[in-house]
């Protein structure tokens, strides 16, 4: 697929989203769809660093929550409009990403992952003790009347469709450019890549910043979605596990993997939450994650590739 072809598909997906927004279906569809699409953004953003560059980030909740809390601070201070919130949420989380990028100078592999986890807890402690954005009590957002659309659910759903498409397009572009090849080289062997003239530090900084940016973007509309934000649910470990599990299930080396993983696992979770229980659906995520890492380390896209090669 050329760039133009990809753009056509992207516009078609957005059009489909708007069409779905116009239909008079059960509003729950929009709420559930928002969560699934949010996971498409999260999984794709995580994969830019985790899949392409091979640096496993356990701190997804930190970036997501930073996006959400940037929104709250801006709402509290200026009642800033939604597009500004998304941009600023992304930028602040991107800055944090740049910060952890410099961390990669000293910390490789496991140590990097543990440090990102630590970062998430430190940030959560700061937010709990910061009363301006609600502190431990949480923050309640009163939504203004909805502009243009029938309801906030529809607006947020279509917004997430657009964000998901943009994120995937960016990830796809990175993957197919020299940046993607450079990242793949440093994932396989950082020292060798450095010796061959790959600018590893600049590439890593790029990957951590972009990844952080889109994780923040995913979190920025979150206050509008839930209307009540408190630290323990915004910094939930589920985000970290899902951000790992979805690309692992789909396959981490291509942009398609996280999308497939997020749609499958995200939808399964939504269905399980309604029909069984929300605790049990978490158990399913954990078990599926472990099974995939043990049995199909290349994910679904890897399995398909293997089957095709076997037949040919």
């Amino acid at each position: 697929m050329k760039i133009r072809g990809a753009l056509v598909v992207a516009v078609a997906v957005i059009g489909l989203g708007v069409l779905l927004g116009g239909l008079r279906v059960n509003p729950y569809i929009y709420f559930a769809g928002y969560v699934v699409l949010q996971y498409v953004v999260i999984a794709t953003a995580w994969n830019v660093l985790g899949g392409y560059a091979g640096y496993v980030n356990f701190g997804t909740p930190a970036f997501f929550a930073l996006g959400a809390y940037t929104s709250i601070a801006l709402l509290e201070a200026f009642r800033a409009p939604l597009p500004v919130l998304i941009l600023c949420g992304g930028l602040v989380a991107g800055l944090l990403g740049l910060g952890i990028g410099y961390l990669t100078l000293r910390l490789k592999g496991v140590f990097f992952s543990i440090a990102t986890f630590a970062l998430s807890v430190v940030l959560q402690t700061l937010i709990i003790n910061w009363d301006y954005v609600g502190g431990a009590k949480g923050y309640t957002l009163i939504r203004p009347p909805v502009p243009f659309f029938r309801s906030w659910a529809v607006l947020l759903f279509i917004l997430m469709v657009v964000l998901a498409v943009v994120t995937v397009l960016v990830a796809r572009t990175i993957e197919r450019s020299w940046i993607g090849r450079g990242l793949a080289a440093l994932r396989d062997n950082e020292e060798a890549a450095e010796c061959m003239g790959v600018p590893t530090l600049r590439l890593k900084l790029f990957a951590t910043t972009i990844s952080g940016f889109f994780l923040g973007v995913a979190g920025a509309p979150f206050p509008y979605y839930v209307t009540y934000v408190e630290p323990s649910s915004t910094f939930d470990l589920n985000y970290a596990v899902n951000a790992l599990a979805m690309p692992m299930i789909g396959g981490t080396t291509t942009w398609l993997g996280p999308v497939i993983g997020a749609v499958l696992l995200g939808t399964a979770q939504q269905i399980a939450t309604v029909t069984i229980s929300s605790e049990l659906n978490l158990l399913i995520v954990g078990v599926v994650l472990v099974l995939f890492v043990v049995l199909a380390p290349e994910g679904l896209t890897g399995l398909v590739r293997k089957l095709r090669r076997g037949r040919a």
């Binding site: 091979g54 496993v56 356990f58 961390l103 000293r106 910390l107 592999g109 496991v110 140590f111 992952s113 543990i114 440090a115 986890f117 630590a118 970062l119 807890v121 430190v122 402690t125 700061l126 709990i128 003790n129 431990a136 470990l237 970290a240 596990v241 790992l244 599990a245 692992m248 605790e279 049990l280 978490l282 158990l283 995520v285 954990g286 078990v287 994650l289 472990v290 890492v293 043990v294 380390p297």
Partner: protein, 290 residues
Amino acid sequence: MFSWDLVANAVVAGILLGGFYAAVSLGVSLTFGLLDVVNIAHPAFVILGAYAAYVMNSSFGLDPILTGVLFTPLFYLIGAGVYRIYYGSFERRGEESLRGLVFFFGLLFIIEVALSLKYGVDYRMVEAAYIGKSIDLGGVGIAFRLLVPCLVGLAMTLALYLFLSRTFYGRAVMGVSQDQVALRLMGANPVRIKTIAFGLGIAAASLSGALLITISPVVPSTDRDYIGRVFAITVLGGLGSIGGTLVASIILGVAESLMATLFGPSWSLAVSFGILLLALAVRPAGLFGR
């Protein structure tokens, strides 16, 4: 507001807490420090041990620490089993670093969710004669619920130190961490040695879980607080150094206790993770690193 009495109490409580933190971190020192297996699920096994103590205590009135000791063989077997799966799926294929990490992260998540499905998210605690008693040493109170876990933690540290330095298997574990090929040439099987060491690590985790529930009530998600603590301690102490683990535990215990007394308990968790980030950024080899 500021009084030296308060500080003295906080320091003593911190040292006692440190002895307990050493117990929690020993397993990670062994598995991560010596075997290079990133067992990030270690805190989940600590909580599992705590719930074992809770169940035996509430239904049979067994002493929590006695239960902890009784359960160690079972957890040793669980640990050995987990390591076999890990070895077969990742280490043998040479893909241990990333996927192994994800494997243990998933394991942690499964244990946590399974516990909250079975026992709910209420705080669970145990009862024993010594919990709630304390002695007073010139204005400084020493609570037995802290003193007993601290003593057990010190005993565990000493036992592990003697095991690693005096026994055949202990020395073999040290050997695995240095040179696996050389160990194989000496006629020992590294996989078997690692299985034993990993089993011991998980057994230590379960026993420290019994200590944990003696100190304070436990919920399934308590394990998250300890991920930072145990890795902060093992990194700060220097990977694989048992003495370093003890020193780092006491440093962390005192720092947290002072922070909680002076600024309020909601900040104390940030101490461990702050120390971890600082240690990783400034001196990844730790205080007593190789």
